[in-house]
């Protein structure tokens, strides 16, 4: 609501600034409407529980969902401990001495570079290192590890920012009480940084679920049901890409798959919010 005390000039500026915000809402609503309106007709229980047939034009996407889930879990299993450890070190320990500060500069530069590398290049890296050098071949494991590398900068950046935003008075009071740094991190800093951790996780999962290019090189694109993490498999985003670009008549299932991807993302976000809130409340 506009304040009565606002001048004419301020009102014009406020309206001018409001327009881009409305445009963003408009784009989101348009995208959502497009995916929902075109994908809803293809969505059914059979679509979610059957294997793809006829190059994806018929059948369902159960193997695609399973492959996506496995790749996502592997990526998070790799990225979470590394990301959490790195963020805690950068925020709480790196500034303690000259060596730490020097190392932190290089760690941050590496993360910035990693964040800026195009996903197709990360895919090539994953292919060279995980598929060929480590001998994993086209596999869900290679895809998950590659995705883990991709989401690290996002995860570390948000968590470090969250930790640094915790007021210093908590740290000083804890030190004055002679409490160990580990206890302070576990009982005070991490619960306080929980919203940032949540934001980082949600962004990372969004990035991982949306990734196509890097996975084409690493996890492959066969549509069969994976039997282990060493099997090749196709994730939802690759399936959407393939149906839309390479399969005539695949548009309907492409939209239905895109809708499943969106709904999955929303579901994961809601569950994560609940889990992180419960954890933070328990720590307090």
């Amino acid at each position: 609501m506009m304040s009565k005390a606002m001048s004419q000039g301020d009102r014009i500026i406020q309206m001018g600034l409001c327009c881009p915000a409305l445009i963003i809402c408009g784009v989101f609503v348009w995208l959502l409407f497009d995916v929902v309106s075109q994908g809803i007709s293809g969505l059914s229980w059979q679509f979610l529980t059957q294997l793809p047939a006829d190059a994806g034009r018929a059948g369902g996407i159960v193997s695609i969902i399973v492959s996506t889930f496995i790749v996502l879990i592997i990526a998070l299993l790799v990225a979470l401990p590394i990301g959490l450890g790195t963020a805690i070190w950068l925020a709480e320990f790196a500034d303690e001495d000259q060596t730490g500060m020097a190392v932190a500069v290089w760690v941050r530069r590496s993360l910035q570079l990693l964040a800026g590398v195009p996903s197709i290049v990360v895919g090539l890296f994953g292919y060279a290192v995980f598929c060929q050098l480590l001998g994993l071949g086209y596999s869900l494991l290679a895809g998950g590890l590659t995705l883990g590398c991709m989401i690290l900068p996002l995860l570390i950046g948000s968590l470090e920012a969250g930790l640094r935003a915790v007021p210093c008075t908590y740290r000083i009071n804890a030190v004055a009480l002679g409490l160990s740094k580990f206890s302070v991190i576990r009982r005070i800093l991490l619960p306080q940084a929980a919203p940032a951790l949540l934001a980082g996780l949600i962004l990372s999962i969004g990035r991982a679920l949306a990734e196509t290019a890097a996975l084409l090189f690493t996890s492959g694109y066969v549509t069969r049901m994976p039997e282990s993490v060493y099997d090749s498999g196709r994730v939802l985003s690759v399936h959407v890409f393939d149906l839309a670009m390479n399969v005539p008549g695949g548009d309907k299932n492409a939209y239905a798959t895109a809708l499943v991807l969106l709904l999955g993302l929303l579901l994961i976000n809601s569950v994560l919010k609940k889990v992180v809130n419960i954890w933070a409340a328990r720590e307090n």
């Binding site: 008075t169 009071n173 009480l177 002679g178 409490l179 160990s180 306080q192």
Partner: protein
């Protein structure tokens, strides 16, 4: 004794040596203490004694290094890139010695800060978290919790909502909770950095009564800008002043002596200036 540490460095010394504060409250003796940040001297030639079981007030104008001096006594200065020279004896032990176990030292020297800062957890956990960290278990936890909340006069106000967040308490209650948290570890020395400056008059009165109550069982070193408070509470006063941008203690002694018959012209000027200012504001 010289140290130079960056933020967070040497938070924990794992050497077994502990300061001997097992019996009654110890005297604090500060000798030739100097403190500098990156070559810039903040304190020099600090010499004074805080008597055992007494309240010593550190007074002086803002920026003269009173809080910095306080932070050396429990080695909080270790958290900053600073250089400390001289000696700080608590009873017979020089706590600036590198072999001192800093975690144990800080448990024995409680500190309460200007701004009340309970941890972002429940009232109960604010006390139990440090106690558990020090290995207190079972019924002793609840007993220590109740004893210390009673000691600071907070028990009746919070006993029905111990699981509520400590952050919903009023400023005065939060400060008393911080006192209780600090006292629950049974320190013999208390460092108080303007503990009432952020509080209303009623809360100030309660905290002052608490400090007075604690004086015989603790050696208390208190920074305050409130000269009336120093006069009310302190047995001894040390006056810190700036000279050429460096803080030093210009005079110390019994409260009545320093306030009524200041020996140093800088003290006289500081006390007179403050008195005139207080009178004019009245």
């Amino acid at each position: 004794m010289t140290k130079s540490v960056a933020f967070g460095r040497k938070l924990q010394h794992t050497t077994p040596q502990d300061i001997s504060l097992q019996s009654g409250p110890p005297a604090i003796s500060i000798r030739n203490l100097g403190l500098s940040y990156g070559g810039h001297k903040v304190l020099k030639n600090i010499n004074f004694e805080a008597r055992a079981g007494k309240i010593t007030a550190l007074v002086g104008p803002s920026g003269c290094g009173k809080s910095s001096l306080l932070s050396v006594v429990n080695r909080l200065s270790d958290l900053q890139a600073c250089k400390v020279e001289g000696e700080v004896f608590i009873a017979e032990d020089n706590i600036l010695h590198s072999a001192v176990n800093v975690l144990k030292l800080r448990r024995r020297i409680g500190m309460v800060f200007q701004k009340p800062s309970p941890f972002p957890m429940s009232i109960r956990e604010n006390l139990l978290f440090p106690l558990r960290e020090y290995g207190v278990k079972g019924d002793q936890l609840e007993k220590t919790l109740e004893d210390n909340l009673r000691l600071v006069g907070l028990w009746d106000e919070v006993k029905t909502r111990l699981n509520d967040s400590a952050l919903v308490l009023s400023g005065g209650q939060q400060q008393r909770l911080c006192f209780a948290r600090c006292l629950s570890l049974n320190p013999k020395v208390l460092l108080l950095d303007e503990p009432c400056s952020a509080l209303d008059p009623r809360s100030t009165q309660i905290i002052e009564a608490l400090i007075w109550h604690l004086r015989e069982s603790h050696t208390i070193l208190m920074v305050t800008h409130n000269l009336a408070q120093a006069r009310r509470l302190a047995d001894d006063v040390a006056v810190c002043c700036l000279s050429d941008g460096v803080g030093s203690i210009v005079e110390s002694g019994k409260t009545a002596q320093v306030f009524d018959f200041p020996a140093h012209p800088v003290t006289a000027e500081y006390l007179g200036f403050e008195t005139a200012e207080v009178r004019s504001s009245d």
